[in-house]
Amino acid sequence: MRFSRFPSRFCPRFIPVLTTGAAFAAAASAFAADPKESDYYQIQPIPNPDKLVLEIGALEHTPDGRIFATTRRGDVFMVTDALDKDVSKAGLKLFAGGLHEVLGAAWNEKNQSLYITQRPELTRLRDDDGDGRADTFETVSDGWGISGDYHEYAFGSKFDRDGNMWVTLCLTGSFTSDIDYRGWALRITPDGRMLPTVCGVRSPGGIGFNAAGDAFYTDNQGPWNGSSSLKWLKPGSFAGNPMGNKWFNITTEIGPRPPEPHDKSRMVIERERVPTLVPPAVMLPHARVGQSPTAIICDTTGGKFGPFQDQLFVAEQTFSNIARVSLEKVNGVYQGVAIPFLEGFGSGLIGMTLSGNGYLFAGGSDRGWGSRGGKPYSFDRVAWTGKTPFEILTMTAEPDGFSITFTSPADKETAASPASYSMQAWTWAYREEYGGSEVDQVTPVISAVTVSPDGLKARIKASPLTKGHVHYLQSPGVRSAEGAPLLHKDAYYTLNEIPAGG
């Protein structure tokens, strides 16, 4: 991890540090010009000449190319000319103010309204008189409780395939559920009905949908969360933290109340006891991938943002970076891989959106929480340079190992050599106490790798596989057909289910 974006006043002595992939720095440095993230993706700051306090909480784009940026201070800014090739042309205009910590924004093209999720409610904003500022602030739903605790954050989604909005409600103080539906995910229907949908949420950081339209949210390390993760919001399911279960008493939308999970257990064990418990789809290993995951965005640009169509990008507050997630469904449960994508943002990322023409917008703030970026807030555009990085594109589970695909043909010799890879596996205790260390370590042995004739796929035989464990694949020895190493050599696969042998 680089600290080069730390302002020098915070970094009186520069400390060169490598965390992920540190063990393989030597192997990678054998190449004169190792690939850099900035060769492929460039972080372009949105100009802010008036020094507006842009503590971004959510970002959204409209079909006609406007970007809406909501802030923790309760403002909504409209960004004009944000999709111009020249980022310096982008301008900021106040669309609305006086809102209460806005952490969700979704544009509705039909009624030309911006739906924002603020702490007390979901609100429809519309500029009725055409002066560029919102006049209507219609409460769509305020059906959830707020007790006055600062930690009762409400994160809102974009619209789902049925036109619903999803809201995840952080626990009171992120530990208890002092008022209705803290620790739940709700859906708000287009006519404003509130449907309690998933319980077991702890401290959410963002909601998004995968290419199939299923909802996911990120949850932070804490009680019942050994590490942060990406979780599937399967309607009617239990996401793992039982503090909010008491509100089953006041809803008839879902139920019955699931049995309480046992403390100091394992997710794989409790899944057998608690039928509605859905394991995290992808663990985002704490202190490796990040510490506070936030926004989720799916690449549906059809290749305008690079080779990652239908994959998810997950923003990160503490590490000020973005990870990439590729999902698959095995035995009816989502699972998949997390791979580092892009680091070096100025502040802790909270909001993201990906415009149709392939610009990713990312912004956030470190207020009250701190972040690697070091700046109090940041708002950037990420532009793909058009060059395809040599990356692991997908990783999927096999009965006897894993398959990985590459974004471009791999060198068959290095890709087929088991010595090019290594694997470790572990899990976390499923427990009430805050967070936890990696436990139950296993070192699977990679016995054989076969590479497809086109060099795009490698079939990795690894044993043993452990159900419920993160399987950490390192691929320091793999080279592209041109001889370059992988841009990111680390892949963290969450093996909730091992596919049956065929």
């Binding site: 970094c11 409460t139 600062y150 930690h151 103080g173 992120s174 804490g222 972040s371 967070g435 990696e438």
Partner: protein
């Protein structure tokens, strides 16, 4: 996560201090034993009690809930002092406290170097309580879980300097840090005399042309303005000497309420003249030769508060007060923020003749408070749980600092003055079965009423909307007059529409002790109100309350209420 409490570095740091302490105790004991033996042989009296252990200085540092900070940004101690540092984690997440050695040759880095090393530990950091293997780590707690305490015992190092302390849990250090100032006292004045003058000045007079009311030496040689207990219209000239220990640069610090001027060797070096509070501390660095120097300090007080602070520092000693009063920013815990910084907020108010809205936790309202500031200096907070104007006030609107810095916990009261609540503790609307039925009791959220949001007019003034059954309510507040002319007021316009008008719908316009005044005006607690359009019915069902029946005509009803301040 329960990392080991005593990690190698910590153990080493402590064992050293323990070893020193032990050695001292042993030496003392030996001396004691000798003395004791002598005493015994000579007088055969009882053995004296062992010497008391020096009591450690107790310093409490807490982490207030949800603020990601230590409650004490500055603590200070003298070299070699024994400290018992009690670290209490009141936050909901684990924190530690790592005391670091100063950064060599530089200003304090707030412990960020150590925090970055901790961050770089990656996964391993979790197992080691985020304590990096760094020589800068002097002492530390483990990761203290939420609502738990841990104590550190340590001997303050002999080298003066700034010893930062920091939470090394990744991401916390930027905001969660503080400093232990290890201070050595510098020389005080060697001699000090005063001349007291009486007069009403706006600026420092030339005291050399005036006759002193009284004069004499100051025995403790500390600059003191409480010479005759005077509080207004006086001035003092202090003349003294001080000894510079060696050639070099020295810095002088001056702050006063009201004016003051410092001269060294007949040269004016710091000017703080005029009438003002003792806010900032002015400073000036001077090169001085070893030996005695003359100091002259002129001061005057017009009226109000009176304060005077003088201090100096040098390479060999930290800032040392030369006055009896010590500026708050120089006292323990105050160093990071002078008092005036603490009161400086993020004041919000109307701009461009438009109303301003602030939605947040507002003291006196439910958590769904919507504060509105109008350009005429009137303000209100609409409670979107009870659908009542929970608060009215005049003057400044809101200070956003509480919510816009750190994590923003807690409720913020209005920034202005003359706050009143015409209808506390109940919803604004109810359908009563008869005119004497009790008004519904307050629930966390008004039952049967649904908030629908608001629209803004051309001057950004909101009309709040809510529904009670089939009744749709529009609730608009029109500011009239101006607070500057003392005639600022707010007219509340209510419009009710309903396809099937209900019977027995009432609005509660005011409650509490209400006194009738002429012209249909009612005087309440800190306010006056009048039902401009509608009938006012004063009743006493559960305490006095003013109800206004909502009478529909063609499925529509309108009411107008005027709220204003007493004077």
């Amino acid at each position: 996560m329960h990392p080991a409490r005593l990690l190698p570095v910590f153990a080493a740091a402590l064992s050293l201090t323990r070893l020193q302490a032990q050695t001292q105790t042993q030496t003392q004991t030996q001396t004691q034993t000798q003395t004791q033996t002598q005493t015994q042989t000579q007088t055969q009296t009882q053995a004296p009690a062992p010497p008391p252990e020096p009591q450690p200085v107790v310093i409490n540092i807490k982490t207030p809930p949800g603020q990601m900070k230590y409650d004490r940004p500055v603590i200070s101690a003298t070299p070699g002092a024994k400290l018992r540092l009690v670290f209490e984690n009141q936050d909901e997440m684990p924190h530690n406290l790592v005391l670091c050695r100063p950064l060599e040759g530089k200003a304090s880095d707030k412990g960020l170097e150590v925090a970055q090393l901790a961050w770089a530990m990656g996964v391993e950091g979790m197992n080691k309580g985020w304590i990096p293997d760094s020589p800068r780590v002097l002492a530390h707690t483990g990761m203290v879980p939420a609502h738990q305490k841990e104590e550190l015992f340590l001997t303050v190092p002999m080298e003066p300097g700034i010893y930062p302390y920091v939470c090394t849990f990744p991401g916390h250090a930027m905001v969660m840090n503080g400093e232990l100032r290890v201070l050595t006292e510098g020389p005080k004045l060697t001699d000090l005399n005063f001349k007291l003058y009486l007069g009403d000045w706006k600026k420092l007079p030339d005291y050399s042309t005036l006759t002193p009311h009284r004069s004499g030496p100051i025995p403790d040689k500390l600059v003191d303005i409480k010479l005759e207990g005077m509080t207004e219209h006086f001035g003092v000239r202090y003349e003294g000497t001080f000894e510079v220990p060696q050639d070099g640069r020295y810095e002088f610090f001056l702050s006063s309420d009201d004016g003051s001027r410092l001269s060294i060797d007949d040269r004016a070096v710091l000017d703080n003249d005029g009438i003002h509070p003792a806010g900032t501390v002015k400073s000036r660095s001077l090169r001085l030769a070893k030996g005695p120097h003359r100091l002259m300090l002129d001061y005057f007080e017009n009226a109000g508060e009176e304060k005077l602070y003088l201090g100096w520092s040098g390479k060999q000693f930290s800032e040392t007060p030369l006055s009896k009063w010590v500026h708050p920013s120089r006292q323990d815990g105050g160093g990071a923020e002078a008092p005036e910084d603490r009161s400086t907020g993020i004041p919000l108010g109307p701009v461009n003749g438009e109303a301003v809205i602030y939605r947040n936790f507002i003291a006196g309202s439910s958590p769904r408070g919507i504060a509105v500031g109008y350009p005429n200096g009137t303000n209100l907070c609409f409670d979107a749980d009870q659908m009542v104007p929970a608060l009215f006030w005049r003057g400044a609107f809101m200070d956003a600092k509480r919510h816009w810095t750190d994590r923003g916990s807690g409720a913020q009261p209005p920034l202005g003055y003359d706050v009143f609540s015409p209808t506390p503790d109940a919803p604004c609307l109810a359908i009563l079965t008869d005119a004497n039925a009790a008004w519904p009791a307050k629930k966390p959220r008004a039952e049967g009423i649904r908030f629908r949001g608001y629209t803004l007019d051309a001057r950004r003034r909101p009309t709040f909307k809510y529904d009670l059954g089939c009744v749709s309510v529009e609730d608009f507040y029109e500011p009239v007059g101006d607070t500057k002319n003392n005639d600022g007021a707010i007219i509340r316009h209510l419009t009710f529409t309903c396809p099937k008008a209900p019977d027995g719908l009432y609005l509660r316009a005011a409650s509490g002790n209400l006194q009738p005044r002429s012209g249909g005006v009612w005087a309440g607690q800190g306010f006056q109100m009048k039902v401009v359009k509608g009938d006012a019915v004063l009743r006493d069902a559960n305490g006095p309350e003013l109800l206004v029946p909502v009478k529909f005509e063609n499925n529509r009803a309108t009411l107008e209420l005027l709220y204003r301040w007493n004077s």
